[in-house]
């Protein structure tokens, strides 16, 4: 599994690692799931497990569609995971 801070291709990272960690902890409180589980799922959304299939449908998307994601594909993917749990 690719580490969440090492994914590349298809989108630029703009958030700091601290911001990512805080967002994961907030999601953990919200969803009642361990931070590690959420981080793994978010990484999987971004690289589909191979490291060569980077999901630019998510990773490249930042402008206009989700004001809370601050343009970072990892936060965008986290928002998607949270929505996935709701629907």
């Amino acid at each position: 599994m690719t580490d969440l801070t090492e994914i590349g291709g298809g989108g630029e990272f703009t958030a700091s690692d601290d911001e990512i960690e805080r967002a994961l902890e907030a999601a953990s409180d919200e969803l009642g799931e361990p931070v590690e589980t959420i981080a793994e799922e978010v990484a999987y959304i971004l690289d589909s497990g191979t490291g060569s299939a980077t999901n630019e449908g998510v990773a490249g998307t930042s402008v206009g569609a989700n004001a809370t994601a601050a343009s970072d594909p990892r936060l965008e993917a986290l928002e998607l995971y949270k929505l996935n749990n709701r629907i």
Partner: protein
């Protein structure tokens, strides 16, 4: 109950350490989103408002992109049973994990069809006045799909999927997987995401964007599936097993057959109409080249891989695309589409939002 007292979960027939089981499990965790609940959660009103504010040429650019997704998702959804049959091929080790994964795969393709069908009939209905023909039931693709290379890709994919499902031959499976998972999903669809990312900056459509994000997350697993499947076939070819000889060559040949159709589609959506939403054909070609190299050289390490082939084929295809009369083609296919609607009502699939 303490952790020590909890029973250990075991399986007998299902190998939970298999890569295919992981793909299946991720499909369960991430691929069961509900289109209706997505619409409820995001809403469609903002998309309709933005859509109604767009200029005709901007709507036309979105219509060209989305038509390709509508028809290809529909075509692959109808190939769902063939994926399951293909995965049951004796040349793929009679793996229950592969067949389990294929069921989730087929479900996601059906859901993508539902999403795009809902979207064009709810938001984009002014540029898609008729959408009901079914290509597998005497119909034809939407006029914009027929006007570009995407319809040719769909035809190749359907033909190879049928052959692979019917005889289960490793070389046929390699051709089908190359067309479907490497070229349609791995290059064309990901190229489509590149275009929509740029177009969204000029005209943000939140429900469409969120739907694309879920679709592309599912498709990421499908590309992984394609790479795993082809790697497995290549490994057996390289081990000298007679039935698998020719896999490497078939993958390379098929990728080269498909590439001009992908380039033609990209040109049709962007450069052919002066790119009003900034989709960026040149940027897409650069990204396509990276994806091509990542799939066929880095991941599969094909013996037949030849450097610079992508740029040569892309250049030739773009030159031909530059001379194409796409507007004339759309007009022609719109006429035949209308005739089919008039001539044979049995071809018309009725139901859903359009008829409410």
């Amino acid at each position: 109950m303490s952790l020590q007292d909890m029973p250990v979960v075991e399986t007998g027939r299902v190998d939970m350490d298999s890569k295919w089981f992981e793909l299946y499990q991720k499909g369960i965790e991430l691929g069961t989103w509900d289109v209706s609940k997505l619409v409820d959660a995001i809403g469609v009103e903002e998309d309709i408002e933005v859509w109604n504010s767009l200029e005709p040429e901007q709507k036309e650019q979105w219509a060209r992109l989305i038509a390709a997704f509508v028809d290809l998702e529909h075509a692959v959804a109808e190939d769902g049973r063939r994926i399951i049959e293909q995965m049951a091929s004796p040349y793929l080790d009679d793996s229950i994990e592969k067949e389990m994964y294929a069921t989730v795969f087929a479900m996601t393709e059906a859901k993508h069809t539902q999403f795009f069908d809902m979207y064009i009939n709810t938001v984009m209905d002014d540029v898609f006045p008729e959408t009901h023909l079914d290509i597998r039931r005497g119909g034809q693709p939407l006029p914009r799909t027929s006007a570009c290379g995407m319809s040719k890709l769909g035809e190749r994919q359907g033909a190879h999927m049928a052959l692979a499902a019917n005889n289960g031959d490793p070389v046929e499976i390699a051709r089908a997987a190359t067309t479907y998972h490497m070229m349609v999903e791995g290059i064309a669809a990901r190229g489509g995401y590149f275009l929509k990312n740029n177009m969204m900056q000029e005209s943000p459509l939140p429900l469409l964007n969120k739907g694309f994000q879920f679709v592309s997350t599912d498709e990421g697993r499908h590309v992984t599936h394609g790479l795993e499947l082809l790697s497995e076939l290549l490994e057996k070819e390289r081990a000298g097993i007679p039935e698998y000889q020719g896999v490497d060559e078939a993958i390379w040949e098929e990728s080269l057959e498909c590439l001009p159709h992908v380039i033609d589609t990209a040109y049709f959506v962007s450069a052919a109409m002066d790119d009003p939403l900034g989709a960026d054909f040149d940027g897409l070609i650069q990204r396509g080249m990276e994806l091509w190299h990542a799939q066929f050289k880095e991941a599969l390490d094909l013996d037949h891989y030849a450097p610079n082939t992508f740029s040569q084929v892309a250049q030739q295809a773009a030159t031909e695309a530059d001379e194409a009369d796409y507007d004339g083609r759309i007009e022609h296919h719109a006429e035949t589409y209308a005739k089919k609607l008039d001539l044979d009502e049995s071809n018309v699939v009725r139901g859903g939002v359009a008829d409410d």
